[in-house]
Symmetry: C2
Subunit: 195 residues, 2 copies
DNA sequence: AGGCGAAAGCGAGGGGCCCTCGGGTTTGTC
DNA sequence: GACAAACCCGAGGGCCCCTCGCTTTCGCCT
């Protein structure tokens, strides 16, 4: 799974070791303190000089991007599965919930994601675009099935997901889920009238 | 309008002068750079030492709170007006739009607002609570009129407003407004079926 | 007018964090 | 082994937060 094959480029042994340590420590530090945690702390914990961290990941976003890449595969897999779901409306809703959860692994991540949208070269940019594309397919199906309003765009879905992810690290998680539910109802063709 | 009467405590002339200068510069700096702008810059622009800034406003939130207090009056006034509006559903929607705009004057403000919720002593906390109370009344009317789902709470409204405010400084403003519209539709008793 | 105590202002300084860069090490290869 | 390339190191410049002891200014009172 984590075989050296991801990049064709072969790294020197020490480089690869530091690279992996950095990723591992970054993951735990970001989990503990959120996506704006001190990079110097990450380097320290990884037993590596700060310059080495920057040599491997020139920017915080690059580091986050590397961290997210693995998890993303799961989300895309789910997306494919959902594309064949019998209920296109429910499928889109599930997708939105999954992506929201994914975009909220580290608190403060949503800001970084949205912030990377105008930075086309950013590591995170590509990820966001792919997400958008996957979501678009699900949205199309949901609209065709009449489950979702015709005037809703993929950008809307993306924005709502981001907002929900942001809420998730401001509020207790159950409340945040509830808000996402309300947003999902907002794009539905018919209100679920659950009052 | 800015007569000295706000606090019963009389300030020394130089104190009041610096206080006002700080507020004025803070306003423009936050407008230019967002709510996380450097406080040292604010002090510098106000022609005041950094210690003086902290003497007046012990925390960034205190400064933001002071800045927002004036604007808040407008929002509360609007709230009162809307309470007598003939269409309770539309009134709630207008109020949500107004509060969202208010909570997005400075980019990054939404984070500060939500962050101050557990800090009961914070300057911003009181403001948020008052907002919540005002919103609750409008929500009650909207529910009674059958314009809004019965299961929606004031906390929901508050959360959606916050999320919309956050979106507002991540996205072009018109897009953010659109998202808020979707959220508003989400809490409506019946989907507006505008597809 | 002048003096005095309290209120207010000042800004150096300790602590952090970000990021760069020149010089010292390690690795892998021949 | 030895050499060049790849890699690592960490001091240092820049910016920021916030505190605290010392100095200045204000405003009242004689």
């Amino acid at each position: 799974m984590s075989s050296p094959g991801s990049t064709p480029r072969r790294m020197r042994a020490d480089a690869r070791r530091n690279h992996d340590r950095l990723l591992a420590e970054a993951r735990t530090v970001f989990e503990e303190q959120g996506a704006q945690a001190s990079l110097e702390l990450v380097a320290r914990r990884a037993g590596v000089a700060i310059g080495t961290l920057y040599a491997h990941f020139p920017t915080r976003r690059a580091l986050l991007g590397a961290l997210l890449r693995e998890r993303q595969d799961d989300v895309f897999a789910l997306g494919d599965t959902l594309l064949t779901d019998q209920d296109p409306g429910a499928a889109l809703a599930s997708w939105m919930r999954a992506v929201t959860a994914h975009a909220a692994v580290y608190s403060g991540l949503a800001d970084q994601l949205l912030g990377s949208l105008d930075d086309t070269s950013s590591e995170l940019y590509g990820a966001c675009k792919r997400m958008g594309a996957a979501g678009e397919a699900l949205l199309g199906r949901a609209k065709a099935a009449g489950a979702v309003r015709q005037d809703v765009t993929a950008d809307d879905v993306f924005a709502l997901i981001s907002a929900a992810a942001w809420l998730r690290d401001q509020l207790p998680p159950d409340r945040a889920d509830r808000q996402l539910g309300l947003m999902i109802d907002g794009i539905a063709a018919t209100a679920p009238a659950r009052d």
